[in-house]
């Protein structure tokens, strides 16, 4: 897919809590096609300590009105600057980058999209994409607490939503892998994104139940286009760049 460097306009920057922000970007021109699981390299200007771009998942795209949404968790100076962007600011992005989640082979496949914390970000676009293709979508979204469960009503537009919180303030208590939905039914395909320990637990569940499973990695990277070779992960084929060979990997390819 052809990659672009674009200046998009910040239409709205919604603070979802002191830790999360939803950045709604608009483009005067037609947005390029993006696939679920792909990401953008976002330039952070105006910070004296941030030098490199930040890799951010495509959270949602609306081609009708040419809007792109990014879901940001403030973890350092770069994401803090992004969370402070004002309506009307310009944001420079390189996109679409990386591969994408793959489509199930059967239309009747039972799908589960498991997200943890801010890792739910790419699953909204994936859910909408799968629903448009005629699949039935189930989300299992986990977080520390109720305030960390983001945009639930958005996910409900595209499928069934199951939730867990570690403190029991919403949904079932515990981790996503403790949820009863995993005990009752057999899924054909699990897509996941979230903290590495969570994804490893999901991958191990998938391996035991022999379920097809794709995970999305977020190794720190510099270029995002396969030039610097900084973001590699160990795979059955040796070191592969997360930015070009990923970020989505089938668990059978990873040395987890």
């Amino acid at each position: 897919m052809k990659k672009f460097m674009l200046d998009l306009n910040v239409k709205q920057n919604v603070s979802l809590s002191n830790q999360y922000a939803l950045i709604i970007l608009s483009s005067p021109n037609k947005l390029p096609e993006m696939l679920p699981g792909q990401f953008a390299e976002v330039r952070v200007d105006g910070s004296s300590t941030v030098f490199l771009r930040r890799a951010i998942s495509i959270h949602f795209v609306d081609y009708q009105i040419n809007e792109l949404c990014l879901l940001i968790q403030v973890v350092g100076e770069g994401t803090k600057s992004l969370a402070e962007l004002k309506s009307g600011d310009n944001l420079n992005l390189i996109l679409p980058l990386g591969n994408s989640y793959s489509l199930p082979s059967s239309k009747n496949a039972k799908l589960l999209l498991i997200g943890g914390g801010c890792g739910v970000a790419p699953l909204l676009y994936l859910g909408s994409y799968l629903k448009n293709k005629g699949f039935e979508v189930n989300f299992l979204l986990g977080a520390r607490s109720k305030t960390d469960l983001l945009q639930l009503c958005e996910y409900e537009r595209f499928g069934n939503v199951f939730t867990t919180t570690e403190d029991g303030s919403y949904g079932e208590v515990g981790y996503v892998t403790d949820h009863s939905v995993l005990k009752g039914s057999n899924f054909d395909f699990i897509y996941t994104c979230g903290p590495t320990p969570m994804m490893k637990a999901v991958a191990s569940y998938a391996a035991i139940t022999k379920t097809n499973c794709e995970v999305s990695l977020e190794n720190t990277m510099a270029c995002g286009i396969g030039a610097c070779l900084c973001c590699v992960t160990e795979t059955t084929e040796g070191h592969l760049c997360v930015c070009t060979e990923g970020p989505v990997f089938n668990i059978t390819k990873l040395k987890w």
Partner: protein
């Protein structure tokens, strides 16, 4: 129309802007963003005789105005380059140079002989300055004796342009430059990354899997500029300047300090179109200052 052409010994560049090894892949990674044939020269990813997996992740740490890397020369080896990369890149209408590295003297020589057979590769950049490999690399480039020996042996088998990339992690970089010039190097490029380190205080752990790595980006520019100036005053062969160049003004500073051409490295990661912006910016500068040719500003620093 000003003349942007420069000659680096027998190597003719359409403009003085090259890309630094390890920051531009094989060039094609950037072809969605720019016409890569506009660049004066592309130096491809560090290549070794045999395939290397490189160092474990994490290999990169962002630092103030720069970054540390410890990639460790991950590449598929010289045969893979010849069979799978060369057929694609040989048709790009610019100078494609191969950055060559090795763990032993013998590896450098065998690989250089193989590259000597490639018609459309007008030169190699001999990497004797990689700080991220256990054997070879920087070890060759930090003593005059070993730097001279490796250039002497490679020179015997390699007939095209031989550029030698120098390490800044030495007491006197001019001595190394003089040593490789004496053995027949056609040009020197400097500087490779500075040996550095980053720590995560919260975790009380080093950030890089290798603990240490190579620092690049604008943080190192003043050091690079000083070294280019020193070396340009010492040697008679052309000097290619690099280290933290982010824009046309930086590039011009290196040329005023004595560089005949420059390389863009880390800046490619921030802006994949930066090479073209720098070429256009140099042209604008040459015009605005009333020069006819870019070669007039090489070493034109006034005191």
């Amino acid at each position: 129309m000003v003349n942007l052409k420069v000659n680096i010994g027998n190597l003719q560049l359409k403009n003085p802007v090259m890309t630094a090894s390890g920051t531009f892949g094989y060039g094609t990674e950037y072809s969605d963003f720019i016409d890569i044939s506009r660049i004066g020269g592309i130096i491809v990813k560090g290549t070794t005789l045999r395939e290397r997996q490189g160092n474990p992740y994490p290999r990169m740490a962002e630092t103030p105005s720069g970054m540390l890397n410890a990639v460790g020369l991950q590449n598929k080896g010289i045969e893979y380059f010849i069979n799978h990369i060369y057929p694609t890149v040989k048709s790009i209408d610019t100078n494609i140079l191969v950055n060559l590295s090795g763990s032993t003297l013998e590896e450098y020589v065998i690989a250089a002989e193989m590259l000597n057979q490639l018609d459309k590769i007008p030169g190699i950049e001999l990497n004797i300055s990689c700080p991220n490999v256990k054997e070879g690399g920087m070890a060759f480039g930090t003593s005059c004796l070993s730097a001279a020996q490796i250039v002497r042996e490679v020179r015997m088998v390699y007939k095209n342009h031989l550029m030698v990339k120098l390490s800044p992690n030495v007491t006197d970089i001019s001595e190394i430059a003089l040593a490789v010039e004496a053995e027949g190097a056609d040009s020197v490029s400097l500087i490779n990354t500075l040996f550095g380190m980053a720590i995560n205080a919260e975790k009380r752990k080093p950030i890089l899997s290798t603990i240490t790595g190579g620092l690049s980006g604008p943080a190192i520019k003043p050091i690079a500029l000083r070294m280019v100036w020193q070396v340009a005053q010492s040697v008679n062969i052309p000097v290619i300047g690099l280290g933290g160049i982010m824009n046309a003004a930086d590039a011009i500073e290196f040329m005023l300090a004595g560089a005949s051409a420059i390389q863009i490295g880390t800046a490619n990661f921030i802006d994949p179109t930066v090479t073209i912006k720098i070429i256009d910016g140099i042209e604008e500068y040459i015009n605005r200052h009333g020069f006819k040719s870019v070669s007039e500003i090489i070493g034109a620093l006034e005191k």
